[in-house]
């Protein structure tokens, strides 16, 4: 099925030139869990065709409460395989490059990207990815969800460690928290929206300011400084 037939309903909200820009941009999604799965879904449905994904994990039962990629069919599959399969079921021409665990030596692979969405759940890993993006001058979309809350912002030169005031501190490599599906999906969706805005040349939320939300709060959304 031609690209134009599948994605023509994007036209209007975005121009044809904008659609072409999204199609041609190279997006990277690191982490394919609660936020990353929804971010990837949005990018593919926005018409992105060049995607680099990082995740070394497999789908497990503990993912079902919030992760788009977690289904009975994908249980125990590698998340990268589940994500690539889903993306190609939406757009078979989508080029998905699976990169495994983000670790030492991965930073170089980010240089191929135009925009990076960091949907990992560890601040220590986020610091590594953010710094690699900063050095390569690649826009870095930060997103995070915990419980009913979430944060999304874009770093372009500003240091993540400075924003969170964690420079030089020893960090735990894993978080331990519950996350609700509406919070994870919202964070991932907003991260994809910010990434698309970058591709389209539209305004984004810029660190150290960030967009916060809490699905249990009457305000729902607000902007504030990080840290």
């Amino acid at each position: 099925m031609p690209y134009s037939e599948k994605f023509f309903r994007n036209i209007g909200a975005i121009s044809r030139a904008g659609q072409a820009s999204i199609r041609d941009s190279k997006f990277c999604v690191v982490g394919l869990g609660g936020t990353g799965g929804f971010a990837l879904e949005c990018l593919v449905r926005l018409g992105a065709e060049n995607l680099i994904i990082f995740d070394h994990d497999r789908v497990e039962l503990g993912n079902f409460n919030r992760q788009l990629l977690a289904t009975d069919r994908t249980l125990d599959m590698r998340k990268e395989d589940a994500a690539a399969s889903r993306a190609r079921s939406i757009n078979k021409n989508a080029k998905i490059k699976k990169s495994g665990r983000f670790g030492a030596g991965s930073a170089g692979r980010l240089a191929d990207c135009d925009i990076v969405i960091d949907a990992t759940d560890s601040l220590a890993t986020k610091l590594e990815i953010a710094e690699a993006c900063r050095q390569a001058k690649i826009p870095y979309v930060f997103c995070s969800a915990q419980g009913s809350r979430g944060i999304v912002t874009v770093f372009r030169g500003y240091r993540l460690g400075r924003a969170f005031q964690v420079d030089g501190k020893k960090l735990e490599s894993k978080s331990c928290a519950s996350v609700l599906c509406p919070a994870a999906s919202l964070a991932g969706t907003l991260a994809a929206a910010q990434a698309a805005n970058i591709a389209l040349g539209k305004p984004v939320v810029k660190a150290p300011e960030a967009l916060f939300f809490d699905i249990f709060d009457r305000r729902l959304f607000w902007k504030a400084g990080l840290g």
Partner: protein
Amino acid sequence: MDFYTLEPCATSNAFEIRFKRAVRIDLGKAEKALAKKGEVLARTSVVLVFKADDYSASVYASGRIMLKDVTRDEAEKLAGALTHALEKGGAFL
């Protein structure tokens, strides 16, 4: 069989046993091996969900084991005991 690592998970009070070499687990044999230790709540082709008095575990055919509702100390003891039971039952492929 002490060739595993224990990693905290992104969910609360859970730990994952990851084997240092690639192993797969025969869930049919795992079910028999674990039957004396508690109740098998469910078994599919890819996962076996097991509940004992004070913890629960998900055993995946791909070779991962998740221990839930445990502290690190408890997880370390359980990892050894479960791994031994699975090994004795011939569940590792």
